[in-house]
C-alpha cells in the first residue's frame, strides 16, 4: 500500500485537486440556488448578470452568497487546523474538537455572550445587538488558546509529547468544558438560549457579510502562518531529539504551529460554532491522496475542506426541508464512523 502511494502521487494530487475544485464550484452554485425560496438556474444566472428581480438579488446577495462563502472559509479553517494538529502531535486522531480547543473556544464565547448581554442590554430585553457579538471570534480564540496550551502541556510526559496521552487529556478537558458550557447556557442563557444553542450546534444559519469580514483576516493570517511552517514541519515529523540535533528550535516551532492551529479553529468557532470532524476527515483524505508531500497535502486540505463544509451545509438545508440540520450535525454524522474506522485500524 505504501508503494502504491509512491507510484503516481503527482497525478493523484492533480486529479484530486481538479475534482475538488469542480466539486466545490458545483457545491457553491447549488448553495446559491437552493433554499426556502425557489430560484431556477436562469434566475441565478440573471442575478449575476444584473438583470434580475430585486427579490432574487436580495436572496442571493444578502443571504445565500455570504452564507456559502462563510462555509467555505470555515471548512478551510477547520481542515488546516486539524492538519497542523495531526502533524504536530503525530497523532491521526488529533482534531480541534477532540482536543478540546473548540470546547474552550465555545465556553469563553458563551460566557462573553452572556456577560455582554447582561452589561449592554440590561433593562431592554428587545435589544439583541450586543456589541459582544462582534468580538466573538476574539473571545473564542482566547478560550481556544487556553485549552490548547493546557492540553498540550498536560500531554507531555517527561518533556516528550505522548500522542495518546494528549488525545485522552484533550477528550477529558473537552468533556469538562462542554459540561460547563451547557451549565452556563442553561442557567444564564435566558431568552437567548435558543440563539446560542443554534450556534453551539455548529451552524451557518444567518451567516452574513459581516461574519465573512471578521473571519477573512484570520484566514489570511493562518494561511501565511502555515506557509512559514511548511519547511520546519518536514523536520518536525521526526523524533523530538532527532529534530533538535538537526538544529531546529523545536519548542518555538511547536508553539507557533499550535498557535496557528488554534487561531484557525477558534476563529471559525467564533463565527459558526464548534463544527467537529472536518479537521479529522479532510487531512486524512488529503494524506491518502497526496502521499507524504506536505505542500500537496496542504493544497488538498484547503480545497476539500471547503468542499466538505459547503456540501454538508447544502445537504443539511435540503435534507429535511423546511427544517435545517446544522452543518455541525451533518459533519458529526459523517465523521464519527470515520473516526471509529481509524480507531479500529490503530493497533
Amino acid at each position: 500500500m505504501a508503494t502504491e502511494t509512491a507510484l503516481q502521487p503527482s497525478s493523484r494530487v492533480a486529479s484530486g485537486l481538479i475534482l475538488g475544485v469542480v466539486g466545490l464550484f458545483l457545491a457553491v452554485a447549488t448553495g446559491i440556488q437552493t433554499g426556502a425560496v425557489d430560484l431556477s438556474w436562469p434566475q441565478v444566472w440573471a442575478v449575476f448578470t444584473g438583470d434580475s428581480t430585486e427579490h432574487a438579488h436580495r436572496v442571493v446577495f444578502d443571504i445565500r452568497l455570504p452564507r456559502t462563502l462563510v462555509g467555505l472559509l470555515i471548512g478551510v479553517h477547520f481542515a488546516l487546523s486539524g492538519w497542523l494538529l495531526q502533524l504536530l502531535s503525530r497523532n491521526p486522531l488529533a482534531e480541534p474538537g477532540i482536543l478540546g480547543i473548540s470546547a474552550g473556544a465555545s465556553l469563553v464565547a458563551v460566557i462573553a455572550f452572556i456577560v455582554g448581554d447582561w452589561v449592554f442590554s440590561s433593562g431592554n430585553p428587545y435589544n439583541n445587538a450586543s456589541p459582544a457579538l462582534d468580538y466573538l471570534p476574539l473571545f473564542a480564540m482566547t478560550g481556544g488558546l487556553v485549552a490548547a496550551v493546557a492540553v498540550y502541556s498536560l500531554g507531555l510526559s517527561n518533556g516528550r509529547l505522548s500522542p495518546l496521552k494528549m488525545t485522552l487529556t484533550g477528550a477529558v478537558i473537552a468533556g469538562m468544558l462542554h459540561a460547563l458550557t451547557t451549565g452556563a447556557l442553561a442557567f444564564w442563557g435566558h431568552a437567548h438560549t435558543e440563539l446560542v444553542a443554534q450556534w453551539l450546534a455548529g451552524s451557518l444559519y444567518g451567516a452574513k457579510w459581516g461574519h465573512l469580514a471578521s473571519l477573512l483576516p484570520w484566514t489570511i493570517a493562518g494561511l501565511a502562518g502555515v506557509g512559514l511552517l511548511l519547511g520546519p514541519l518536514k523536520v518536525m515529523q521526526l523524533d523530538e531529539q532527532h529534530v533538535q540535533t538537526l538544529g531546529l528550535p523545536l519548542n518555538r516551532w511547536r508553539a507557533f504551529a499550535l498557535l496557528i492551529a488554534t487561531l484557525m479553529a477558534a476563529s471559525a468557532v467564533g463565527v459558526a460554532g464548534p463544527v467537529g470532524f472536518i479537521g479529522l476527515l479532510i487531512p486524512h483524505i488529503s494524506r491518502k491522496l497526496a502521499g507524504p508531500r506536505l505542500s500537496a497535502q496542504l493544497l488538498l486540505c484547503v480545497v476539500l475542506g471547503a468542499l466538505l463544509t459547503v456540501g454538508a451545509d447544502v445537504l443539511g438545508r435540503t435534507l429535511f426541508s423546511p427544517y435545517e440540520v446544522p452543518v455541525g450535525v451533518v459533519s458529526a454524522i459523517l465523521g464519527v464512523p470515520f473516526f471509529l474506522y481509524l480507531l479500529s485500524r490503530q493497533s
Binding site: T5, V235, Q237, Q241, G247, P292
Partner: protein, 266 residues
C-alpha cells in the same frame, strides 16, 4: 572534540550519570559499553546537548555544549536516536535530504548542491538504488543505513549513535558496524556509539568506555579495557578473554550465577 568534566546527569530527581570525566578522541570510533541502565545512552544524549548537566559540564571544542547555538551544533555533530520515528510514507531520498536542514535557513528550499550531497551519502551507505522507495517498506538493516545516510548528509565530523544495532538481526548488525568503520577509515568521521555486545565493540572500536551504575569504570583501547576481572566486576559474568589474530580481545563467557563452586561442594 568532546570532553566531559565531572559530569553528573539526572532525570528529574533520579541520578543517572555520576561524576564522569571522559575525553572522546577525534577521528576514532569510541564505544560506550555497560549493562542496561548503566547510563551510557544518557551520557551519549548529553554529548548532543540534549540534556543539561546537574553538575559538571560537557565541552565541545573547548566550549560548554549548552553555549553552542543549536544550528551551529547541528553542523558539528549529528545524532541517530535509538528508535527514530519514520514520518508517514516518506521516501528514502526525502528523508536523507532532511539532513541538509541545518545548512539552509528554514525558509529556503533545497538546492542542487543539497540534492547532490544527499545522493552522495546514499551512495556511501549503499541505499542509492532505494531512493524512491518509502522508508517503511525497507528492512531493518536498510532503514538503519538510510538513517546513517541522513546523518552523513548533515556533513558533520562527529556522529553519535544510540545503540545502532539493538533492533537488527545479527547479519545487519555487522553490516552497519562495517559501514561505520568504513566511514571512519575513509572520511575520518568521529563515531561515538553505545553498544550491547562486548565482542562487537572489541572488534570495531578504537576506544572503549565502560559504564556501570552511572559511573565510569574503565577507559582505553579494547585490549586495555576488556579483561576478565573487569567484566566479572561490571557484568557479573565469568569469561575467558583470548587475543585474536588482529590483536583485538575476544571473550567467551557464561553467567556467574550458573557456575558457583558452592553447588558443586554440596
Amino acid at each position: 572534540m568532546i570532553q566531559t568534566e565531572n559530569l553528573s546527569l539526572a532525570y528529574g530527581a533520579t541520578p543517572v550519570v555520576n561524576n564522569v570525566s571522559l575525553a572522546i578522541p577525534e577521528g576514532a570510533i569510541t564505544c560506550l559499553l555497560g549493562p542496561n541502565g548503566s547510563g551510557k545512552s544518557t551520557l551519549l544524549k548529553s554529548f548532543a546537548g540534549l540534556l543539561s548537566a546537574r553538575s559538571g559540564r560537557v565541552l565541545l571544542d573547548g566550549q560548554p555544549i549548552d553555549e553552542w547555538d543549536r544550528q551551529r551544533l547541528a553542523l558539528r555533530l549529528a545524532m541517530l536516536p535509538q528508535k527514530p520515528i519514520v514520518p508517514d510514507g516518506i521516501l528514502v531520498k526525502d528523508l536523507v535530504t532532511l539532513g541538509r536542514f541545518p545548512h539552509r535557513k528554514w525558509w529556503q528550499k533545497n538546492q542542487t548542491e543539497d540534492n547532490r550531497i544527499a545522493h552522495d551519502s546514499m551512495t556511501m551507505t549503499g541505499v542509492a538504488e532505494l531512493a524512491d522507495r518509502p522508508v517503511e517498506a525497507l528492512s531493518g538493516g536498510q532503514q538503519q543505513r538510510v538513517w546513517i545516510a541522513m546523518a552523513l548528509a548533515q556533513e558533520t565530523s562527529i556522529l553519535l549513535l544510540d545503540e545502532p544495532t539493538t533492533f537488527l538481526d545479527w547479519g545487519y548488525q555487522l553490516e552497519v558496524l562495517e559501514l561505520l568503520a568504513k566511514l571512519n577509515r575513509e572520511h575520518g568521521l568521529t563515531v561515538v556509539m553505545s553498544l550491547h555486545d562486548l565482542n562487537q565493540a572489541a572488534q570495531f572500536a578504537d576506544h572503549i568506555a565502560i559504564m556501570a551504575n552511572g559511573e565510569l569504570q574503565a577507559v582505553g583501547s579494547p585490549a586495555e579495557v576488556i579483561t576478565e576481572s573487569l567484566i566479572q566486576r561490571v557484568f557479573r559474568v565469568e569469561t575467558t578473554v583470548t587475543s585474536e589474530a588482529n590483536g583485538r580481545p575476544f571473550c567467551s563467557g557464561y553467567a556467574a550465577a550458573f557456575k558457583t563452586p558452592k553447588i558443586a561442594s554440596t
